[in-house]
Symmetry: C2
Subunit: 605 residues, 2 copies
Amino acid sequence: MSNALPNEQPEKIYLPRTSESESLKKIRHTTSHVMAMAVQKLFPEAQVTIGPWIENGFYYDFDKPEPFTEQDLKTIKKEMVKILKRKLPLVREEVSREEAQRRIKEINEPYKLEILEDLEDPITIYYLGDDWWDLCAGPHVENTGEIHPKAIDLESVAGAYWRGDENREQLQRIYGTAWETPEQLAEYKRRKEEALKRDHRKLGKELGLFLFADPVGPGLPLWTPKGTVLRSVLEDFLKQEQLKRGYLPVVTPHIGRVDLFKVSGHWQNYKEDMFPMMAEDEQAALAEQGFVLKPMNCPFHIQIYKNELRSYRELPMRLAEFGTVYRYEQSGELGGLTRVRGFTVDDSHLFVTPEQLDQEFLSVVDLILSVFKSLQLKNFQARLSFRDPASDKYIGSEEAWSKAEGAIRRAVQTLGMNYFEALGEAAFYGPKLDFIFHDALDREWQLGTVQVDYNLPERFELEYVAEDGIRKRPVMIHRAPFGSLERLIGILIEEYAGDFPFWLAPVQARLIPVSEVQLPFVKEVAQKMRSLGIRAEADTSGERLGKSIRNAEKAKIPVMAVVGAKEVEANTLSIRTRAAGELGTIAVAEVLEKMENAIANQENF
Amino acid sequence: MSNALPNEQPEKIYLPRTSESESLKKIRHTTSHVMAMAVQKLFPEAQVTIGPWIENGFYYDFDKPEPFTEQDLKTIKKEMVKILKRKLPLVREEVSREEAQRRIKEINEPYKLEILEDLEDPITIYYLGDDWWDLCAGPHVENTGEIHPKAIDLESVAGAYWRGDENREQLQRIYGTAWETPEQLAEYKRRKEEALKRDHRKLGKELGLFLFADPVGPGLPLWTPKGTVLRSVLEDFLKQEQLKRGYLPVVTPHIGRVDLFKVSGHWQNYKEDMFPMMAEDEQAALAEQGFVLKPMNCPFHIQIYKNELRSYRELPMRLAEFGTVYRYEQSGELGGLTRVRGFTVDDSHLFVTPEQLDQEFLSVVDLILSVFKSLQLKNFQARLSFRDPASDKYIGSEEAWSKAEGAIRRAVQTLGMNYFEALGEAAFYGPKLDFIFHDALDREWQLGTVQVDYNLPERFELEYVAEDGIRKRPVMIHRAPFGSLERLIGILIEEYAGDFPFWLAPVQARLIPVSEVQLPFVKEVAQKMRSLGIRAEADTSGERLGKSIRNAEKAKIPVMAVVGAKEVEANTLSIRTRAAGELGTIAVAEVLEKMENAIANQENF
């Protein structure tokens, strides 16, 4: 019985990220060269192409007629270890383009010639000892002896196309990893294995929460009854929180005219992320007279705001919708729930006066923090996603952007939050505060977002009548604590390793009779629980007790109640929970009360 | 203060429908001729075209350069009364095609010539006295004296195109009505006026429930906070009923591959009712490789069923979803909520063994009847919508259709329901039981539907493992008690005339302070009500009491609570309800309790 709870690791080993570590960049870059050298030594017919570092290691693409086998990887690794132990120096040499061409032709590597064409001067070459070199800009370690032979490994082989173009040569990509120390490699492997166990695609299937169906299409999840419970509990929880805070629920269509998205700017700035237009015929298509699936809810909530002339008395107006949106992600990018083509945003758009902006922004952040707390998500940072001043992909004035970015910076400073600024990560219409969550395996996920927007109110000419009778422009706040319900559930499955907290679990309790004799009692108690809103079920399988208990464990149901003759007589239940193990025999009434309290307080049973 | 409740008419006058009354057909047909004769007498330049009876009267289209005015209609009606009083006989004459042509040319009526071309032999002409005749197949009254001059009226003028073709001549259509008795005409006018008052488009706007926005598109309603409450209350009510009856909620995407709808048969049989395909480019469009908005939820629920091999133990499996679907109604057909392009079906698909079919069908009908009862909808019939044996637009075998139609017929007979059979009204994949509701104005609306389907299980090759271990095919029941949430709300607005029952009303109570002094008390009580789930609001407008009361009446809020100094002192509320008028002063605690009970029992306060 696995009781793995988040953040329960015995010792915490820090794993640096390549992007943040010069040392790792050098190690991985060099190890990729070492691998290519080893491959060409063992398989002289293999031609090399490119081999960059990636977040968890490196890869190298080879052109080789025979596929690499598992056994090949082992042999290659052995050869790599030999090279490391030779302590070969890495020597940088600057050469002229002509000299580079000459040397490439000498070793007959056509891909390198093509790579050379795209390189800018100066052309640099890195030698690995005397035998092997590659076109490369570095950086590298001084010599291969700096890399610990027990801190590297080869992981897998996959197909790849030269230049990512499926009309070009098919190559073989070997993925490897390399770390500063053997301990880091061990920790990396442990996390990888744990991540595999927690993989929400695997767990989602085992727990029967959602499915993808080929006839429906990639990235379009269908939610089973159990998964739908999960969605509903999360939705209802946030709806209740929002009701308390004066949010007003609305419902809007999933499609709108192209024209609507021209006014909002989505058509001009976001079209490639949208599904193709629905047009009656070619003429309508050419005239862009058709409908599109909404990639965001904002233009629709704006229509509701615009439906009447608003007074300052009505502001802040917080329109909220669990709105399902559709984005045309490339099918290669889709995987499980964390990247989908259709997802439900726990969206709200707040229309506020400029004077209300700071206070409302703080209230929104406060709501998001309280949501994270309920979900037991503790470890996160604030990312201030601002515009890239060098890019022209944004709409709106310099002044509007400065004001919006200022409001966000003030808020995180007021709250004393752990934050960093990321230029170029803004939405095209405004800057954002994103919550970056670090999970139990120290992976980063984006969850929750708040945006300040002076631009859409301008584009849609929104107004309110101020206290002095003058028509003024409101500011908009876009916000979504979950971000996407699908993505959140994917992350929660991995974070909890499928062990949902009691209040969230699709099935909260399973009642198991020791024999058929206790079945009527078990059914009665289960029915009683359900009438109190507890998601309980009776085990009517007729399986042996041991099998029934194992089934409930496999289904990761938080509470198991075993009922034998003694329990029936005493009106008790023999309780076993995933969080705390055996709790012994407890009176039915007490169990019911404890369960109701646990649900109300979002606590474990 | 209007307290009009459904079915509270002092005397019930039966209004026959033209389609069901030979007598009305004759009267209306003849009156249309009388009108045309009157028009040509008064406006000799007017050319006649066609003039059929319609459900509530008749019309006639004229080609006339000058538009008809309101005053013209009065003059025409006077002339018609004169014609009626002349007791002109209607004389039928059969003529040869050549003779008909000759006579038409004689009176120079080019439209009649064109009409003649499409007529089949024998050609018949009806004379109205000696002066006027028309090409017509009848039937007519014997003489105009049979039509009571006080049982006819002219109603309006509208534009129309000759042959409904916007490239042809623009004509003027005069709408009129005619009845057997002056009493019928009076009742018809009363109902028409009442219908205008109840018009859900008008009331929906006045009560602020929903809106249409041109940039979003026709037939795509957006729901305001108040309208969303209405939706949620209805949804939650049905969800609770379904939970009790073992339905399993699911969530599915709004789009799917074209291929999915090819398997289901929608693409071949229902394509013209679907939105255009979303295809990446022309090539994909030609290959029909793209996505489409779902017009129905069935193929998606089927995917969830198919996701695992099912056992007889899991059946009946009742998958339920408030699924929003999209249908490409012609924009000319759109109006308010009763005909929209996007709507939410309270959909469920039951997968049952053949042995379970009859019992499950009865359970579904029972659920629908209990839903109608809660909604206070009393007056309905069952329409058995069967296939048209002469048409080939259906999928599936003769045998499957017979079995399905048989199951439906057995069910309504078992229940002793008032029913009729309508050939040609089936869905393309199976027959239906539709509930035809007659509203307070005796109009017919379709609400709620149950379908039996042997065909989709066949097309999708659905299976379950039966008790004997053999794989068998389940039967599907499609059902939706509301039908469409949008349509239901439109009908309810009209049926209730905007006066929602207490449990459904978006705002249930408004608390009005006599002066500012009572505002804190009023706010406190409103807050207390909200914490109990009562939708209460405090009137903070600062308006005079009279104005505040009128505002609450205009908003049709079921309960008004006025609070003066005396009420604050005694902790009471002075209650006034729309249903029962003044209730006097009642203790706050008692009001709260009565409100909670009224909500729980779906009763008036």
